[in-house]
């Protein structure tokens, strides 16, 4: 659907996004693929959770891997993080590092205690 309308006084500019004309239908198709991808991820996580004969620890790990992939798709394409600028990447890298630090060190602290004592 092109938008080549003219106004009375000024010449119309075709809608631009970073210098390229916006193709709405292309975006629509792209979103369709992304949605299908998300549905697949959901289905896969459900399937893994129903697998018999595995420990919950293993199943949880696998499910989280799929969740991370799903998150990557949402963040990368829907939040267009993949086309973002260096500044944003740096900020997020720092955040991820701290997040891992918070989780990891807290867990490590709870696992490390002298023999014969308990941690609650």
């Amino acid at each position: 659907m092109s938008d080549s309308h003219e106004t009375k006084t000024t010449a119309a500019q075709p809608p631009l996004h970073d210098g390229h004309p916006v193709d709405f239908n292309a975006y629509l198709r792209r979103c369709g693929f992304i949605f299908v991808g998300i549905l697949c991820a959901i289905g896969m996580m459900l399937w893994i959770s129903y697998l018999p004969g595995h420990t919950w620890a293993l199943k949880s790990a696998l499910i989280l891997v799929v969740a991370c992939a799903n998150a990557f798709v949402v963040a990368g394409f829907l939040m267009h993080l993949l086309s973002e600028k260096k500044m944003i990447y740096t900020l997020l890298a720092v955040t991820v590092f701290l997040f891992i630090g918070l989780m990891g060190l807290t867990l490590y602290a709870m696992q490390d205690f002298p023999a014969g004592t308990q941690m609650h």
């Binding site: 709405f24 499910i63 829907l78 720092v94």
Partner: protein
């Protein structure tokens, strides 16, 4: 007084102000939910073996909610694309969809809370445990009716995925009840985490809906006077909404599937 780079990006960073601002805010939100997720991991790893619940949530409703939220994320993106393409009508359509999906999510989720709060674990004086949804709490004739089952070992109530459960209507006289507790956040740490994490998430859904709703209702004026600024606002609120979806992408498997 014009603040520079509110609309046009600054050349050396390539970003406009609000975009920097929203990503900073999202970074702080990552740490907020990160705090809750690390609480979850810590409490789960520290729990006594065999006492962590599995399968307590309604998987159907949870999956529907996940799909609904994913759809809303997509309509949010398309609403922004419509703004970029200069199509205000399309923007209104897609964001109307977003708001409807958000409403659906909230309703389904509140229903899940209701289900939890009407689900009771009743310890009987005989030592047995009755577990099920409240059908009737008859104060006059002093009995309680639940739709559920009776077990003799509390451990059977934890891992529901590994059992096939037959439910029936059980009528219990109040004199046989030693204690009764609903599956609220007070029930155990899993429910506490579930209510708190999904509750905080729901608050973010509501907040995001309010912002998107405001742009949807009152956006026409700014669209006429300053469409680029308006498009940026749509983008920024859309980024927040996508983050809300991202959190749910992790909440759903963690609370419902594992």
């Amino acid at each position: 007084m014009d603040i520079p780079y509110a609309i046009q990006p600054r050349p050396d960073t390539g970003l406009y102000n609000a975009k920097v601002g929203i990503w900073l805010f999202l970074a702080s939100e990552v740490m907020l939910f990160g705090g809750l997720f690390s609480a979850y991991v810590l409490l789960r790893v520290g729990a006594d073996p065999g006492t962590w619940p599995h399968g307590w949530q309604n998987l159907t409703l949870g999956t529907i909610n996940t799909v609904v939220l994913a759809l809303s994320a997509i309509t949010t993106l398309l609403a922004w694309v419509a703004c970029k393409a200069g199509q205000f009508g399309r923007f209104r359509f897609f964001h109307a969809c977003t708001l409807l999906f958000a409403l659906a999510f909230a309703i389904i989720h509140l229903n899940e809370y209701h289900e939890d709060l009407t689900h009771y674990e009743i310890h009987l004086t005989s030592g047995l445990i009755a577990d099920g949804h409240m059908v009737e709490n008859n104060l006059k004739e002093d009995y309680v009716t639940i739709e559920g089952r009776t077990v003799n070992d509390e451990k059977l109530l934890y891992d529901l995925r590994s059992q096939t459960i037959k439910e029936s209507e059980i009528k219990i006289p109040r004199t046989e009840i030693a204690s009764m507790e609903s599956y609220g956040p007070w029930h155990n740490t899993y429910m506490a985490l579930d209510f708190t994490m999904t509750g905080l998430h729901l608050l973010h859904v509501i907040a995001g809906s309010v912002v998107i709703g405001y742009l949807w209702l009152f956006g026409r004026k700014m669209w006429r006077t300053d469409p680029e600024r308006f498009t940026n606002r749509v983008e920024v609120s859309g980024l927040f909404w996508h983050f809300v979806d991202l959190v749910w992408i992790f909440l759903f498997p963690v609370l419902y599937l594992t």
